[in-house]
Symmetry: C2
Subunit: 391 residues, 2 copies
């Protein structure tokens, strides 16, 4: 019994966490339910029902499969479904008409052959990256509709009527789905991509700003979450790419115009991840910080602290200017400060007496600085990409 109780508590916790992670999910669930209830009304309102008949079922189906979390994804699926149905319907009718020329005995063979060829080609096209990215669902629907219409084996007049009815219900369902998705508290993929890119930069910036203090164990921050937050950036590629794909379908919204340069966000994402890879390497040196000869470490404490805090500030400024969609004007000074710090470090190092230190123990310290210098280079690249976006 306690086992069941624990399982229920477990599930309740999972549900709570899912809702808390992104409260818009709860709203989305209501939106889906609302859209479906709306479309299912056609079954109850007499005039609608007579217009559509049992094909109204297709409207419900379309809403359900088309309705996605973001507006972009819904538009992508809706448009794909609409166009693919239209194209496949037309080709299906043509195939039916063409096969009729061969007489009733040969007709099934001709149809089977045509279906085989069309399905084979469309299935293969789903593997081509550029097709997969934008038209994967459309190709699936093409296969579906073409097979159904070509195979149905009705007389052509009835077939056209059927194709027309199915197409109009799909348009009806798709339009309802898109309208609800876009008008009731919309979740824009483009906005999410924008926020994600900014958030990722902020995560890296927080790590870098706090790194110096952590490394010298002089930080009195209790909340150490900033040390692990950057890890999610490492695996953000798939999310960013799918958001950018969906954003491509979206109309202008909020601060973003139609055809906002979403590709530039992917570029910034690549550089941000590159920076995150270096931070991952840097993170490893936090564990070795106690074993190191403190004397050498202390002698370079000032430039090291300055480097990490200034590069963090530069990145934070870049994130802020991206958030506000303005030209990043203040980050350049912080990058300049970083470069001064690198020079300071070099001078300190050259002036100091190497013989006093245990060289083996200095290896991790020097590696840390070297990675910090690489990170500064990375941030410069990010800065250029952000500038390009703001133009």
């Amino acid at each position: 019994l306690s086992c069941i109780k624990r399982a229920i508590v477990d599930i309740a916790k999972k549900i709570k966490k899912t809702g808390e992670d992104d409260p818009r999910r709860i709203l989305h669930s209501f939106k889906v339910a609302f859209a479906i209830t709306l479309v299912s009304l056609v079954y109850y309102l007499e005039p609608f029902y007579h217009g559509m008949g049992d094909a109204g079922m297709w409207a419900i189906m379309t809403v359900i499969v088309v309705f996605e979390y973001t507006v972009g994804a819904t538009l992508c699926k809706g448009m794909n479904r609409g166009f693919a149905t239209f194209l496949a319907g037309a080709l299906g009718v043509a195939a039916e008409w063409f096969s009729d020329l061969f007489g009733p005995t040969v007709k099934p063979i001709v149809i089977c052959f045509l279906v085989f060829i069309a399905v084979g080609i469309a299935s293969f096209a789903r593997f081509i990256p550029s097709m997969k990215r934008r038209y994967d669902y459309g190709l699936l629907i093409f296969i579906l509709t073409f097979s159904l219409i070509a195979v149905s084996g009705y007389r052509v007049e009835k077939l056209i009527e059927m194709a027309h009815q199915r197409f109009s219900t799909i348009i009806f369902g798709g339009a309802t789905g898109i309208a609800v998705s876009m008008c009731v508290c919309p979740v824009w993929a483009g906005e999410d991509l924008h926020k994600l890119t900014v958030l990722n930069m902020e995560k890296l910036a927080s790590f870098l700003e706090g790194f110096g203090g952590e490394y010298y164990s002089i930080s009195n921050e209790d909340d150490k979450s900033f040390l692990a937050a950057y890890k999610s950036v490492l695996n953000s590629k798939a999310t960013e790419e799918s958001l950018a794909n969906f954003a491509w379908w979206e109309i202008g919204h909020g601060k973003f115009l139609f055809r906002h340069p979403w590709k530039q966000y992917l570029k910034i994402g690549v550089y941000t991840r590159q920076c995150a890879h270096h931070i991952e390497a840097l993170h490893g040196y936090l564990d070795t910080r106690l074993e190191v000869s403190s004397e050498f470490q202390k002698s370079i404490q000032e430039p090291c602290m300055k480097m990490s805090s200034e590069v963090g500030k530069a990145l934070k400024e870049l994130a802020l200017s991206m958030k506000r969609m303005v030209y990043p004007s203040t980050s350049a000074t912080h990058i300049e400060n970083c470069k001064t710090a690198i020079e300071e470090f070099n001078t300190t190092l050259q002036a100091s007496n190497m013989e006093n230190w245990n060289i083996v123990e200095t290896i991790p310290v020097i590696a840390t600085i070297s990675i910090l210098i690489d990170i500064i280079k990375c941030v410069e690249t990010i800065s250029e990409a952000v500038e390009e976006l703001s133009n």
Copy 2:
């Protein structure tokens, strides 16, 4: 005109590349076409047609949406569709029966309310990570079938008949899809995951084996592709996780039993990616190799070369033993060699006269060694995980 010609050549190249990247894709396209042609035969063979009627359309639809590239994905979708249709059908009939109790006027309101609640809950459940991973498609089909059956508004007897017919055609279509996917040149997700994990380790191993020669510019290898191959490992997380999810559904095949520890592959994948992150940092130092004082570099050439080649060999042995599914027995010696090389390096460094070198110019060299040492630690973790898998 030349523009059109170029576009066609472009598309042809893309198609060729897609086919060459994985020739099984061409086969898959034929498999899909074959499965659909097979199911569409029910329309032409009289006895089948009488048994199914127009619901045969649902069989074609099921094959099309269920048929995926790997057996695991097909099984996942097929099982999800089957169970979800059954459950939603039963609940839909129950909802219809329940709402009948309220009389014809209130019935539509009760049904709308039930649909709203059920769809809302199921939509939200799709966000819960553990549900999303395995039952996402099932939840979608649940929403679909429940809405359709509850809303259809037929009399209960006819509804049961309809649900029964739909369910049996879905089983027929799903079974055909699964059978073709499993029997005609199957593509197993588990096998792909196994191969991918091994390949990723091999890519890292090739980089490490070649790194020493590249770094000291003494390699006479013409093919430099091994220097960039590791980059695909950095972003392999999503692919690995989806393959592991699909592999969970698969029955035993080839060398893999049912319930093979696929989770362990994900663990090895995490460590491999960690290693790849360090290699990404290491790769950056290849560009700085010419600016560095050659004297210091030469003094540590031997241990450095040894470290990188031995750690590469260790990883290659691990990959090989994983490929053959045997206990990794020879990799331990290579890891031991690495550790000897680290000690040699430390001794060389302590014995050498630091005053002769420009300390600033040695920074990247020392950082390189430090990262190599980190990589050796990573490979040790991978080795433990591979040993665990082989037990």
